[in-house]
Symmetry: C2
Subunit: 268 residues, 2 copies
Amino acid sequence: MPSPPITSLQNQRVKDAAKLRERRQRDKQGRILIDGARELLRAIEAGLELTEVFVCPSLCQTDDSRRVLDLLDRTRAEILHVTPEVFGKLAFGERAEGVLGVARTPGARLADLDPPADALLAVVESVEKPGNLGAVLRSADAAGVSAVIAAGRGVDLYSPNVIRASLGVIFTLPVAAATAEETKAWLASRNVRIYAARVDARQLYTETSYAGGAAIVLGSEAAGLSSVWSGAAVTPIKLPMHGAADSLNISAAAAVIFYEALRQRAAR
Amino acid sequence: MPSPPITSLQNQRVKDAAKLRERRQRDKQGRILIDGARELLRAIEAGLELTEVFVCPSLCQTDDSRRVLDLLDRTRAEILHVTPEVFGKLAFGERAEGVLGVARTPGARLADLDPPADALLAVVESVEKPGNLGAVLRSADAAGVSAVIAAGRGVDLYSPNVIRASLGVIFTLPVAAATAEETKAWLASRNVRIYAARVDARQLYTETSYAGGAAIVLGSEAAGLSSVWSGAAVTPIKLPMHGAADSLNISAAAAVIFYEALRQRAAR
């Protein structure tokens, strides 16, 4: 039996969890916040180390939130019942599915990735918008990409908005955060060929073979790619661009290239 | 010379324009609101019938907004100077580029579309989220799709959020709104082959030839496609889906299929 519901917004556990919406607090506490029943389900399925799950039973109305409740005994999380008012503070009223998780921040270390030698990998450099990073993760997941590396300094991989935009695939898909230099060196050490999507490339993405180990590198729409992704070890590739706008959204561009690689691999 | 700047939030012109954020008022006034200098630039380039442009000179700091000012004499729009406070009300503080347009609602009639016989067309049915509809328009523009038809009842094609998410390509790309039945009949009358993206399809999108006139039909992630898009005249196609999530975002799925059609066409 859980203890009686927490009724106070001043409860320290509630306050500490609510603070996890701030990056500084996530870094300090070494924990992250998981909104949304679907996202929490994926975290549980992926074996994430949940420390607490806040539950407001009267708000658990969706199939996904009921399924989370069924699976909670698989985790070592402490279950904290809260009133709707307290849940509203924690969930910011954004998600009213009655469950909210707190987990230890996953390591997301490059050294822990071990994709197969012929894997298709994705690198996203300095994509600042959480919605875009999450959407790229979703495209990578759908296309069967083996791992996604967020390259850059101080990438905020596990912000609540990235988690949500990824629909929780950030937990089920192997991911890592590292600097661009570390990422490039790691790819080289594994003999992975590197293809960088650039608007000024001459080679079309469809005239490129993605056989063997291959990494697709994508930059933000605003900043493009850093100079790390130049030089002999990197093949620049481009998508043909018609129409009035300069570029596809990064998650759409990512999906197009991932699926072309997938098409070529399936055809072999 | 423009008249002296409007300083009052109670000014009727300002109030009427601000009301255009509501759909009911757009329908009633037969006018739309165009936020953002880039979007307004595309509207001017596309020859949209602008009736008014609100300008706050001190806020016009970007290249795009200065370019709008340069092009204003190409339009018949009345130029109304406003103070930063008044502009803030009109623009909701969302866009502070100092220019905001009001235009007659484009007809967006199916009968006015006249794509080439071998055109690649896109149909999006009942995509309610403005961000998704705008993003599909952007994917279609980038891939060189000839026209996009928003199918369904009461599609709100020109909401400010669709315009913004499309980066303004909604003005440069031929678009129409019609019911699904009208759209299907129009496609049939032009001998356009119809391919409907469905998760339960058996035929892969890569095993499909998009030669000749072809229309790709996409539904919302939540609702899927209506029964109009079943039957002998429609070929269901699917994207292979790996990973944990059920589906790609609609604009990413759209981009993948459009670019596959483009790849096949370029290869011929």
